[in-house]
């Protein structure tokens, strides 16, 4: 073996190796293989995985954002439609309510005017009654005095005169009512 090494060192036969070159190569390569498998490959593979995960994650995120945007748009459209319907409904209600209020007011006004008319009628009747009563007294007295003076006859007998006046007046009234019925 020693012979072979010396031969190689002299370059006599290029196919005969220097054993120490083999040793150095094997040890050196073992160290390199250890470093590569321990540090380099895991680091590169991790980077690859993270990168592909980031790309896939980015795509998923974009899809999620797109879906969210679509949902938001849909919800806004829905809300807009709802709001329009609501506004229409409120307008309709207001119109109906206005009509209702108007009708109520008209009715109330009519009732009020009827009440006032009624009251006026009652008052007029009462005043007429009072006037009739007062006239009956005064007309009786005046007519008696006048008649007494005219006929010269004392008509001081109140009871009789009162009867006469009453008869006169009831004649008058019956004539009046006959005239009214006519």
């Amino acid at each position: 073996m020693n012979n072979a090494v010396i031969l190689a060192a002299e370059g006599a036969n290029p196919l005969i190796p220097n054993v120490w070159e083999i040793v150095v190569t094997v040890i050196g390569f073992a160290i390199l293989l250890f470093i590569v498998s321990k540090f380099v490959v895991p680091a590169f593979e991790k980077t690859y995985e993270e990168r592909s995960a980031a790309i896939e994650g980015g795509i998923a995120k974009a899809e999620a954002a797109q879906a969210e945007a679509n949902a938001a748009l849909e919800s806004y459209k829905q809300q807009l439609t709802d709001a329009r319907t609501e506004a229409n409904r409120i307008r309709e209600e207001a119109r109906a309510e206005g009509a209702q209020i108007l009708a109520d007011l008209k009715e109330k006004a009519a009732a009020e005017s009827a009440r006032i008319t009624e009251q006026a009628h009652v008052q007029i009747e009462a005043e007429r009654q009072a006037a009739v009563a007062s006239l009956r007294n005064e007309v009786g007295t005046l007519a008696t005095a006048l008649a007494g003076k005219i006929v010269g006859e004392s008509l001081a007998d109140d009871a009789r005169s009162a009867r006469v006046v009453d008869r006169f007046l009831s004649d008058l009234e019956s004539q009046q009512s006959a005239g009214a019925s006519k």
């Binding site: 190796p17 150095v24 190569t25 050196g28 540090f39 380099v40 680091a43």
Partner: protein, 280 residues
């Protein structure tokens, strides 16, 4: 290269130069002896270590590759910088174009470290042949080529036994669908080609291409140097021709160096795939 030879003749840097000795004015073509450089630790020579430039370069390559790969992979940024990109690009070239495509999507992951280490180790050690001052493809020393091919040889046989048990030797040597009559012949050929020829061609292909490339460049450098400096007047211009040829060979050699690293790793992947395959 032009700096070879005359500049460093008789210089202490002789260990880094390719010698182009001129004896008595004659041209002496550099041979294999000239490529074996003096040892750096001469006292070790007594014990036959011969610790020389080649071993130093092997260790240097280990340090360079480890530093490069660790530094390029450590950051792991989502958007790689130039440095990280270079590391990732060459890593994923071996990982995908060699490992994944040859061994297959399902099984290739455990072999990434071996393939990546082999590729970078051979690439850098080959390229040492084209780096000025270093100028020695360490794989042109057959010991390194034997060592690498030996590691791969042990690895794929071990892998086959681990996967199939001892039945692996049957899987590897007895092809299916061969007529019974010629089967013995085929089996003998398969045994020789798989278990004996394969590691030899695997190592010698690398070693021989590197050594011959190294020799060609040394020869053209020495020839140019001799022609330009020492030759008679009329022959001098020929030196320019050999110089141009040498530069061309230098560039071609870089291509060969990269290609051989790729070929070596590709074959390794093919051997691994063969060990994993169910059928021959």
């Amino acid at each position: 290269m032009p700096n070879d030879g005359h500049l460093q003749r008789g210089n202490a840097l002789i260990a880094l130069a390719l010698p182009a000795e001129t004896e008595n004015g004659g041209f002496h073509a550099p041979g294999l002896e000239d490529l074996h450089l003096p040892e750096i630790l001469p006292w070790g020579a007594e014990y036959g270590t011969g610790f020389g430039k080649q071993m130093l370069l092997v260790l240097l390559s280990i340090a360079l590759i480890s530093w490069f790969l660790v530094a390029a992979s450590r950051r792991g940024a989502m958007v790689p910088g130039k440095f990280q990109f270079l590391g990732e690009y060459s890593y994923s070239f071996v990982r995908n174009s060699v490992g994944k495509d040859v061994i297959g999507e399902r099984d290739f992951r455990p072999f990434i470290p071996l393939l990546v280490s082999l590729f970078f180790f051979i690439l850098v050690n080959n390229l040492f042949g084209s780096i000025p001052l270093l100028q020695l493809p360490t794989t042109s020393h057959v010991g390194t080529a034997y060592a690498l091919a030996g590691i791969v040889y042990v690895f794929w046989i071990g892998l086959g036994i681990k996967k199939h048990g001892l039945r692996y030797f049957k899987v590897a040597t007895v092809p299916s669908g061969v007529p019974k009559a010629i089967l013995p012949l085929i089996v003998v050929i398969e045994i020789i080609s798989t278990f004996f020829v394969r590691p030899i061609t695997h190592s010698l292909r690398l070693f021989a291409t590197m050594l011959s490339g190294h020799l060609i460049i040394a020869l053209s450098a020495a020839g140019s140097s001799f022609l330009l400096l020492e030759a008679d007047g009329l022959l001098k211009p020929l030196g320019l021709l050999t110089l141009a040829g040498g530069v061309g060979m230098y560039l071609f050699e870089i291509l060969i160096q990269v290609l051989q690293a790729y070929v070596f790793v590709l074959l390794t992947a093919i051997y691994i795939q063969g060990s994993l395959a169910e059928d021959h």
